[in-house]
């Protein structure tokens, strides 16, 4: 071993140790996101979603400048509202919680089609609290958000899916119905085949749901 090698090794070691925190922080973020997203894909319970929502919120608050953890935190909250539709207060609370989180995501990443989808979903949750009262109040805005999402990213399948889902559950009398939902769901499925998420931690949910709903339109 000569001196110069030693020096190089030492400097390299030092460099590695100094740089490491920065690199490992991003690694840690990616890993934490991947791990929790894998759990999210299989979580079907209110308690499970609450745990995940909390985890994403912690990541979001620690990272501060990333919209994705806020996005998933909001998603985990609003989906709980749809799971327990008996407790109206709970549904409102979850919608309020999700709205706070998605607003932060929206501030970090304006004009984002994925965020518009969650905003629309939150309004759908509010409508579900009492469709007779809130349908008129939030219905149009919920639809507008999806139209905006399509304008922002025409290749994204999720606004089409949500549009289809919303029409699917709206009575024909109010301009909805399975027939009207069908082309949106078909379109969403087509787009799911070609749509490439920006990274492995970007949103990829919804394909299965689109398939299920489309199947039911044929019943």
């Amino acid at each position: 071993m000569n001196r110069s090698f030693l020096t190089t090794a030492l400097i390299a070691t030092l460099l590695v140790t100094v740089i490491q925190p920065a690199r490992s922080q991003d690694d840690r973020y990616q890993q934490a996101m991947k791990k929790n997203l894998a759990t999210l894909d299989t979580t079907q319970s209110v308690a499970g979603l609450q745990t995940l929502g909390n985890t994403f919120t912690r990541i979001a608050n620690a990272e501060k400048d990333k919209w994705l953890p806020y996005y998933y935190a909001a998603y985990s909250q609003v989906m709980q509202a749809f799971m327990d539709q008996k407790d109206k207060d709970f549904m409102q609370e979850k919608a309020d919680e999700a709205e706070k989180l998605i607003t932060k995501a929206d501030e970090l990443s304006p004009d984002n089609a994925e965020i518009r989808c969650i905003q629309s979903l939150i309004l759908s949750a509010r409508i579900s609290v009492n469709p007779a009262i809130y349908g008129v109040v939030y219905g149009p805005k919920s639809g507008e958000l999806l139209q905006e999402a399509i304008k922002l990213d025409s290749d994204n399948p999720r606004p089409h899916l949500l549009m289809g889902q919303s029409l699917f559950y709206t009575p024909p009398m109010f301009g909805g119905g399975k027939e009207k939902a069908k082309p949106f769901l078909e379109n969403a499925l087509k787009k799911f085949d070609t749509f490439q998420p920006e990274s492995s931690i970007h949103p990829h949910w919804g394909k299965e749901l689109a398939g299920q709903l489309l199947k039911q339109t044929n019943d």
């Binding site: 070691t13 929502g53 912690r58 109206k88 009398m173 301009g175």
Partner: protein, 754 residues
Amino acid sequence: MRTFLITTLLISVCLLQGTAQSIVKGTVQDKKDRPVTGANISLENSYDGTTSGADGTFSFTTMETDSMTVLITATGFAPWRQTILPQGDSIRLAIILEKATNKLETVIITAGSFVASDEKRGAELSALDIVSTAGADGDITGAFRTLPGTQQVGESSGLFVRGGTGKETQQFIDGMIVSNPYYSDVPNLAQRNRFNPFLFKGTVFSSGGYSALYGQGLSGALILESVDLPLESSAFFGLSSVGADAGYEHLFNSGKASVGGTYSYVNLQPYYDLVPQNRNFETGPELHNGDLNFRLKTSETGMLKFYTNLSTSRIGLSDPDIDSATLMQDFHLDNRYLYSNLNYREYLGDDWKLTAGLGYSINDNDITHTLHNKEGRPVTVSRPPFNNKNFNVGNRSNLAQGRVVLERFLSGQHAFRFGGEYLYGYEKSRFSDSEDAFDDNFNEHFKALFAEADIYLSTRLAARVGARFEHSSLLGEANIAPRASLAYQFPDKGQVSMAYGIYYQKPEPEYLFRTRAGHDGTGASAGNFPGYARASHYILNYQEISGLRILRIEAFYKEYNQLLKTMPALSSSGEGFAKGIELFWRDRGAIPNLDYWLSYSYLDTEREYLNFPRTIQPDFATPHTASLVIKKTIPAWQSTLGATYSFATGRPYYDIRENADGQPAIYDQGETINYNSLGLSFSHLTSLFKNDFSVIVLGINNILGADQVFGYNYSYDGSRKTAITPPAERFFFLGLFMSFGVDRTDDFIDSTIN
């Protein structure tokens, strides 16, 4: 040596990174020791943390060794923070969370008013609520008559609130006073509100203690806020047993402006031919009504709105003359009405909001009273009381007004509002009979300045303090009316509010004309107008809102001073009081698709007023009033069934006449029978053509045909009395309303899919 050096260096680098692992564990509970599930426990600025379990316990590990803040958040609770220093050991935390007071749950001042514009929690009485209330016949006032504080008065127009008359409840649209909000008075027949409920996005009904922003309503205020831009272009058409209407509203492509107009025609004659009435309607009621609106979004936060309404109506009635066995007393009314309102609002920077409005209205009545015999020929009898039964009256009111309000938002939810209004009124009155004639008019310049502050003493305690200054050139008199309210929100649920205020109101123009020389019979000289009537309100309110349920209990005391007296001479020397307690309960969530509310009012009131010889319970007030309103939606039938039951104890009635000394005296009195009314409505949603959304409505008022008596008319000498009743036992309504929304969904499918 060198190897040793490197090794040491590497080890120390490793050590620097730290490897100590700490455990943080504990429990999260609320103040009543109940576990809080799903709370987010985090170390701020790190990923470390966990979620509390069903028993409120939690445990997580962290590699951090610096001083860190534990942050605990849970829905419905205030955030909790504590600094810890993890040093490879175990840290135990026992946390008790306090209930949150976020903006939505923050105390709001509610004493005396029914706020109905909270978007998040749903309106208390939205336009849809109003039209789906059985028995209300789509009338704003009819629906509010099912709320506590109001009387079931069927013989005169308006909301009779807590011992006040219908004229003592003032109506406001976008902050501006509406003169003549009801179709012109017809003897012994309450008239509808002129305004369609769908013109308004928010309705606040205040039965007292309302803000300094409003004045000239001695007993109550109906505060209406007009709708903004429509969501889409649409056309509608309606056909019913009483008339037809049609309208179109166009939303420009920019989505920033809209124009619209409607026309409606109402004529009850065909209905009266089919369903016999106990009064002879010789003309109409017939009504033409047209309105136009224009709305423009002037910026992201600015909105300019214009609404105008023009209507003409006529009605002719012929009732048996009470003072004779054979004669008939005819009443004929022609009315022309114009209302217009231009309103602008904008936020100036982040902290200021400007609201400005201009309004103009005209109300023009031509009224004839004639006596005729059985053959239909006019009769003139020159002895009393018949000599006063043939006459013509014409009255015209013009009102122009301007109003500006500035609102300053301060940190911590404090707000300060101030502004002013100027009203120019022109009143003209014409009277002629065989003996007498006069034609008179007067001008009025009315100015008001007001200021009000919302002060949050804490998130649980809020105060609103304000005052209003008014000056009337006609009365030559100014007044200052202080208003104050205080609200406290309990940590668990519910809030208690108190309100106090002084309210002034000018006498109605008809009395002001009487003071003019020679027309009051008392010799009061011109310009000697009576002054403002004055009421002091004291209100205590408890309210609990949870989800879709609301409970309100309100107690009040009111003192009336300077009430108008017409006998023995015109003066402002009347007085009175009103006290009572009211209950309101509404639940929209307990049973799926069922919405119901229950209201009860207890009222104890007496006043010396108009021709009352002393302080007595007025003939428009009864101690007990209750309403139950039920609406059940049946999704499978796409239908809604509604029922409204109202009950009121009997009201007093009096025969008051001038005695030999020229003093008013009660010659006879009694109490009417209890009031009962059950109204039913059925509405069915359907689609008759491709793109339409149609509603078929069937309504029946007083389906049980219960006898209803609103009071008694006495003959000139008091020897005879006749009951004042509704014109028919029951009222039936059948209508079809079609809305042709310019449905964008199809366009959207075309543009995004094909």
